[in-house]
């Protein structure tokens, strides 16, 4: 479950990611009533088996839900909850409807299980590593090994989101710069499991986040910049 919004008097609109059907949306009638069997099962972060009746629009009708996993412990840490919500939000915005999304689904489940097992382990490096891996899962991996314009492997100083990867000083043009720390983080994060995501300082973290947002904007058509920017 990615998102749940109030709808009408007692209903909810839900967004979920499914390995077979990608992002799905549904209306759960009466889900906000205390005696609803659906309400408790349709909260974000839960893993559920959904039963839907296909509607004429993108929104289907939720007629049943069985809980597979509830990440109770995430709710005990504000940091873990915020990271989990951010991850769900990014998946909700980037995953396509009606397309299999097995890798995206698996990646998000891994992150949620990790945060649930160790809520105190939530850190920005984990969030950014998740986002970089998400680009891979969505089929738009950032190219980090060599300049995407000339192929040089040294003096890589910037990230050209439109070209999809790092560029060297002579090809930089207007591309925003990335420090060696940011570049090192991206390489390490993509090469390691989520549970071993490296930590990162504020400045390189902002650069990595900007690179991710740039790829999402150019290649997925999604604006993920923070609203207060």
């Amino acid at each position: 479950m990615l998102r749940s919004m109030r709808y009408g008097e007692a209903d909810r609109i839900i967004h979920a990611i499914s390995p077979e059907h990608g992002r799905v949306g549904g209306v759960a009638r009466g889900a906000r009533r205390p005696k609803s069997k659906l309400g408790g099962r349709l909260e974000p972060l839960a893993v559920v088996r959904l039963e839907l009746i296909r509607g004429r629009s993108d929104l289907h009708t939720v007629v049943g839900a069985d809980t597979v996993a509830v990440h109770h412990r995430i709710l005990t840490s504000h940091a873990a909850l915020t990271h989990a919500q951010r991850a769900c939000h990014v998946v909700d915005r980037t995953a396509a409807p009606d397309e299999p999304a097995e890798r995206v689904h698996g990646l998000l489940r891994t992150l949620l299980a990790l945060l649930d097992a160790r809520p105190d382990a939530a850190h920005e490096g984990l969030q950014l590593a998740f986002r970089l891996k998400l680009l891979y899962a969505l089929g738009v991996p950032p190219a980090l090994g060599a300049c995407v314009r000339c192929g040089r492997t040294e003096h890589l100083v910037a990230f050209d989101a439109a070209a999809g990867g790092v560029v060297c000083a002579s090809c930089q043009a207007g591309a925003p710069g990335v420090d060696a720390d940011a570049l090192r983080f991206m390489v390490q994060a993509l090469g390691a499991p989520l549970s071993e995501a490296p930590s990162i300082d504020d400045r390189p973290a902002r650069q990595v986040a900007r690179a991710f947002e740039g790829v999402a904007a150019h290649h997925l058509g999604v604006d993920l910049r923070p609203r207060d920017d």
Binding site: R3, E9, K37, G40, L45, T67
Partner: protein
């Protein structure tokens, strides 16, 4: 095609939540079929509610005037604060007749992905109330808390904050945030959260596993 005033009223009704074009049409014909004074009473009530009702400057509940009826009521326990998301949440808590303290309406719940952060809610006002008591309250305490639950100036101050945000992900996030902040700013204040569990009258066999799981986690000794 209908006369323009009818079209305007249908359009106005259609903007109300849960009212579609057909219901709007039915309501319009109902208004037309009623005596003039009924229509005037409805129009007056609509105008009055917008002109006379505002926010209580202490708890941010709906109020006619500067303070709501609950903040005005001297019988309400000023040492007990119940934190809710919206003014609509005050009513169901009042209907329980279990709670005799005061309220604090946050104006929503934290949702970082929707751009709702701590500064968008009445959280600072809450922490100030807990620390300093209610402004203009004759029984208001001021200064640091001393051992007997009063402030150094002798007035009562908040001793417990009941967080009654919704049992949703955003509601839980808000409750966690409030708990963490109050532990730091006012460690002497007890912060509690409403229990989650089975609705009275429901069968265990039909309970969903998430609610039942929480009911187990929050079980109490009898």
């Amino acid at each position: 095609m209908q006369p323009a005033p009818i079209e305007r009223l249908v359009a106005a009704f259609s903007r109300l939540p849960g009212v579609g074009p057909r219901t709007a049409q039915r309501l319009t014909y109902h208004v037309l079929s009623r005596p003039d004074e009924d229509a005037r009473a409805l129009a007056t009530a609509l105008i009055e509610v917008k002109e006379l009702i505002g926010e209580c400057r202490i708890c941010f509940n709906l109020a006619e005037g500067e303070r709501c009826v609950i903040c005005e009521d001297p019988r309400r326990d000023p040492t007990l604060l119940c934190v809710v998301e919206t003014p609509a949440d005050v009513l169901p808590v009042e209907r329980t007749h279990e709670y005799r303290g005061r309220y604090h309406v946050l104006g929503g719940a934290l949702s970082p992905v929707d751009g709702v952060g701590p500064r968008d809610l009445r959280l600072e006002e809450l922490y100030r109330r807990v620390l300093e008591g209610d402004p203009d309250d004759p029984a208001r305490g001021s200064g640091p808390l001393v051992d007997d639950g009063t402030t150094s100036s002798g007035g009562p101050t908040v001793t417990e904050v009941v967080v009654a945000t919704n049992p949703t992900t955003s509601g839980e996030a808000t409750a966690l945030h409030i708990g963490a902040e109050l532990r730091e700013r006012s460690p002497q204040v007890r912060v509690s959260r409403l229990a989650s569990g089975l609705p009275v009258g429901a069968d265990l066999e039909h309970a969903d596993e998430v609610t039942l799981g929480r009911a187990f986690a929050g079980r109490r000794t009898i």
